[in-house]
């Protein structure tokens, strides 16, 4: 299947890697030259340093024959335009947009985006769930390529408690998104200090979840007795 990914941030980057490893044909458009060079070094010539919002760049990337266009940048308006251009101008059968503002979710669906992924809403929804302590909560499967949204609750005795996000040494396949603290969701930055009671939402490859759980919550073997 030929898939165009727009936005080479962590989500776009890992999604592209997963898609490539499952044998799909992928082109990744990233407009920032430095980031594009960085990920091109990792995954090669499928990365184009182009703005996916521009019609001519979508055309050059092969939008006419793409089965799916996934717009995963950090800007809602860019993701909307990418999907609408793909759908209406290039007749792409399936479009996927990441939205960050919950307000835009319904609007994007109404405006023709086939699949709307909203990490913020997922995190908010999880607040109301009865969250099992000491394990990763599996919130959603992002794609068939083994990427999952997971949630971890930090306890006072968790290894991550009191540590700064950048010092956690999480595996490459895991990215922390959002911390839910006192029922408020906020983005995790590299200098965010994790506290007992925090709920972390992360995008993780299925194959590194054991390590993610060990680093964030604690040793799975010791927990079997809990």
């Amino acid at each position: 299947m030929f898939i165009i990914v727009v936005g080479g941030g962590k989500v776009g980057y890992y999604l592209t890697r997963e898609l490539l490893s499952s044998g799909h044909e992928v082109v990744l458009l990233e407009k920032d030259p430095r980031r594009a060079a960085e990920i091109a070094h990792e995954i090669g010539s499928v990365v184009l340093n182009r703005d996916g919002c521009e019609g001519k760049h979508l055309a050059a990337a092969g939008a006419n024959r793409a089965a799916i266009v996934a717009a995963l940048t950090g800007d809602d308006e860019d993701n909307l335009v990418v999907c609408q251009m793909a759908k209406h101008h290039f007749d792409v059968p399936r479009t996927i947009a990441r939205v960050n503002s919950t307000k835009n979710e319904a609007l994007f669906r109404k405006l023709g985006v086939d699949e709307v992924i909203n990490p913020t809403r997922i995190a908010l929804g999880a607040i109301e769930q009865d969250i099992p302590v000491h394990d990763l909560l599996h919130l959603a499967q992002l794609s068939t390529g083994g990427l999952e949204l997971v949630e971890a609750q930090i306890e006072a005795d968790s290894p991550a408690a009191g540590r700064v996000a950048r010092d956690l040494a999480l595996p490459e396949g895991c990215m922390l998104f959002v911390v839910i603290r006192a029922n408020v969701a906020q983005a995790i930055r590299s200098d965010t200090t994790l506290q007992p009671g925090d709920k972390l939402v992360a995008l993780s490859r299925t194959d590194c979840q054991d390590e993610v759980r060990r680093l964030l919550i604690g040793d799975p073997a010791a927990m079997a007795e809990v």
Partner: protein, 156 residues
């Protein structure tokens, strides 16, 4: 007539001044309060600092009762988002988005959004100056009157 203008750049401020002089009730929105320095000192309308792509902000300003909505920020994508909120969520009858990328402008025009494309207009004006035939659609907003979403035109 009630008019909402998102983006108080040269075009937004100029239009705000012109419309309010002719009796329109104008609200101009910009994320930067400094942008309002572009308005005439005696601008009689409302100047609001805020995000014009946020539906709640627009509703609070009474945008649902507006007759005209102009999305004139410097970002093509922000303008398309704001204009579609105005049209689809707020049902404002006359909505225009400034989209300077001609390919995007043509695509959204075909989807039924009224679009003004500075690039096309300037290219046409300069080409006519050297004697080339005019592009009759270059500055045409009338031909791109907003249609109902159900009448969307599919472009091959």
């Amino acid at each position: 007539m009630r008019t909402i203008i998102v983006g108080c750049g040269r075009v937004g401020a100029g239009l705000a001044d012109a419309l309010s002089r002719s009796g329109h009730e104008v609200t101009v929105i910009d994320v930067s309060a400094q942008a309002f320095n572009r308005l005439n000192a005696d601008f009689p309308g409302q100047a609001v600092r805020g995000d014009g792509t946020d539906e709640d902000v627009l509703r609070r300003l009474g945008a649902e009762q507006a007759d005209y909505f102009f999305a004139l920020t410097e970002g093509d994508n922000r303008n398309t988002l704001a204009a579609q909120i105005a049209h689809d969520a707020l049902s404002i009858p006359h909505v225009i988005a400034k989209i300077n990328d001609p390919v995007r402008a043509a695509a959204y025009r075909a989807m039924g959004l009224a679009v003004i494309c500075r690039t096309t207009i300037m290219v046409d004006a300069l080409a006519r100056f050297v004697g080339l035939p005019a592009d009759p659609t270059a500055g045409d907003l009338v031909a791109a009157v907003v249609v109902e979403p159900s009448d969307e035109v599919e472009v091959p």
